[in-house]
Symmetry: C2
Subunit: 431 residues, 2 copies
């Protein structure tokens, strides 16, 4: 007999039902179980004298064990769970559960040690259902708009992308490295004439960061588009994608958001765009906040938080683009602006955090070599990359959305750890 999902049970039917034992009430002559699958619950009633083999099979059963049962569905108007119950004629305990070592009061570290038990909570499972829909909505827009999906390599023979630290891999008798982003390789797609590419994939940073925003392995939605006239074309493309995706999510996740008690408005207003200098002025004028010296030329976490507050108040937008970052705050591959002190790089902030770095790239090999040199690096070390631009390459730009960042903010959660399936940090490599 094929399995019937609990939500599809109808009185009068003979069925096979698989499920988790969610609760047990064991009386002298009768036993009640609440059985659950991912979506629903049902009551199971066992009259011990009538079905001694069923009662025997269930002896000593603990919560979180799993069973498969064949039986009859009967109407039971007094039963809250759908007005039905199951009378099983045959039960097999498919797994016997030990007592869970964690509960709601467990600390974060213990929860991460037993992540699979932590995720069983329907609210946390719900986060991943939402993420599934978010990714689907984004990808759907990309494919409709003729973006080509690519999968860039995560291992490379080249150690440097400038800046952040890399993990080293023993690659047979050679050294290899984990890529810090698909940046250099997605740009290759533009040189290849793919014109518009996207990727959802992993990146690696060997940084000892212990914040609510960082992981050593993180997944991003990466995009690169060719034939742009400036970084504003890239922002237009990102804004159009997010507007379409949010509209879609508003529909596809409506029930989920209700269950998770999440306020979500799928109708995005136009995102404000201000320069970094305008942002500094705004922070000072509206909040009396001055960006600390160490962060000058960039934004610190507090200014990101405040700018999002201001954007919501002033323009009714949870999003805000910040443009015109100085050359010092951006990597070598970002194109310089008309004023050569500034770049064509931008950040997109959402509900208090930076969720995207983007911008127009430098696509002229000679200028690119100069930018690499100006950052104190040797263009020879990046020749595998610079050569992408030697045989013709259109002006292009792109962006990356930190997946855990946008998902956690949509869900109103404080840390990216909540929405990462198995978090990897400097102190965490297991399970």
């Amino acid at each position: 007999m094929k399995r019937t999902e609990i939500k599809d049970l109808k009185p009068g039917k003979k069925v096979r039902v698989h499920g988790w034992v969610r609760s047990i009430r064991d009386q002298k002559s009768i036993m009640f179980l609440i059985l659950g699958d991912r979506e629903s619950l049902v009551q199971v009633i066992i009259k011990k004298e009538e079905y001694p083999e069923v009662a025997h099979a269930l002896e000593g059963i603990q919560i979180n064990s799993t069973v498969v049962l064949d039986g009859r569905v009967v109407a039971a108007p007094n039963v809250k769970l759908g007005g039905i119950e199951i009378i099983p004629t045959k039960v097999t305990v498919t797994s016997r559960a030990a007592v869970s070592p964690i509960d709601e009061k467990s600390g974060l570290d213990l929860q991460l040690d037993y992540r699979w038990l932590d995720l069983r909570c329907p609210v946390k499972t719900g986060y991943f259902k939402v993420q599934t829909e978010i990714l689907r909505a984004m990808r759907e827009w990309f494919v409709k708009n003729k973006y080509i999906e690519i999968m860039t390599p995560k291992i490379t023979g080249h150690s440097t992308e400038g800046g952040a630290e890399v993990f080293e891999v023993k690659y047979f008798d050679k050294k290899a490295y984990l890529t810090q982003s698909p940046q250099l390789f997605k740009q290759m797609g533009i040189a290849a004439g793919f014109e518009k590419v996207f990727e959802v994939g992993a990146s690696y940073r060997a940084e000892k960061s212990f914040t609510s925003r960082h992981a050593t392995e993180f997944f991003g939605v990466d995009v690169e588009i060719g034939f742009v006239d400036s970084e504003h074309d890239v922002m237009d493309a990102q804004e159009a994608m997010l507007a379409a995706a949010f509209k879609q999510i508003g529909k596809s996740c409506a029930d989920l958001f209700k269950k998770l008690d999440i306020q979500f408005n799928g109708n995005l207003k136009k995102f404000p765009r201000i320069t970094l200098l305008q942002a500094y002025d705004l922070l000072l004028k509206e909040r009396g906040y001055e960006v600390p010296k160490a962060s000058k030329g960039d934004l610190d976490p507090e200014s990101e938080r405040l700018l999002c507050e201001i954007s919501a108040e002033k323009w009714g937008s949870d999003f805000i683009f910040i443009t015109d970052f100085p050359v010092s705050a951006r990597p070598f591959y970002i194109m310089k602006g008309e004023n050569a002190k500034f770049t064509r790089g931008y950040d997109l902030l959402y509900r208090g955090v930076e969720i995207t770095s983007g911008g127009q790239r430098e696509h002229r090999a000679d200028v690119l070599r100069e930018s690499i040199r100006a950052k104190g690096m040797n263009p020879e070390d990046l020749n595998f990359y610079v050569q992408f631009f030697e045989y013709g390459c259109p002006p292009h730009g792109g962006y990356c959305i930190g997946l855990a960042r946008i998902v956690s903010k949509i869900l109103g959660l404080p840390s990216v750890k909540d929405v990462i399936y198995l978090f990897r940090g400097p102190d965490r490599l297991s399970p």
Copy 2:
């Protein structure tokens, strides 16, 4: 002015057009360019005396350079490319191309060295358009059928999955490893109550294989489903997914397949299912082929090829499931069959190659420990994994489809290298 794509050009309009210079005909007083973007071509005409600045900007231009031009679209009934041409009033050369170091006659290694130039060929770009649609069709089915998307970690503190070689990563002051498959971690999703999960992600094998089917980094479509009664439920699920996806691809790729000259039938017949022993009999009876001793208990490449031929002839199916592999040929995590010499593991063959390994997993911690021991491994080393099954876990199974394998076979290509964006092999880590 915003860019207009070439396919959208209409006579009488003033436009900005970005493109690649596909050909140049430079005469004394007039110059013709064929300009192309990803999808289309258009002729550009420059009367040198009338527009001396345009002519000057284009001096010395080489094929594969990129330009942006502002101009007027005029009707030109004699011009084959859509009966229009562009008269530019302003041209900027956005990149000047050096002469390509490869052509159609270049060897595979040189083509891979200059992969981005190799991919420019519209046929090869087309392969990635097809792959984009294949992935979309599969994911669409998963999401519609309530699978949850997961992203399992690719770095782990645990070295062993049994069998294949792993890459070692320097992880701060510890050792880490690249995962050989999402296998162990996708099963965690079942223990977490996710019930049905899928992932499209990378896996790593440190094997010195130099075949047309192997890469050290490869991308797979991984699936795991809970509450199965046997491996046949898993096969049913995979068959339903592939039938839906092929139907969808037949529609969404119809034009692409025509351009690429590819025969594709989206209406799949029911896949035959035969046991390994039946397969051996069939090979002997139909082709006089005996599987070599070294491959006994499994299939060698030649038998995979022949079985697909036989399946097409006998059952009209490009696919064929092979079941009941012996314990010796399967990893520790596959459940044993009713006859304990055999497993609940299966292979799915398509057009001559194995594209999937799948099966029901062992979800009982104690039996699993026994299987690990029987393979000569220490259950302690796999405790991070075995513990997933200590706190209740339903019977489950799953499969992985090698993406490059199925895509290359759909496209009728001899090697997975053709459809991998940047191939990684024992001797190849660059670009």
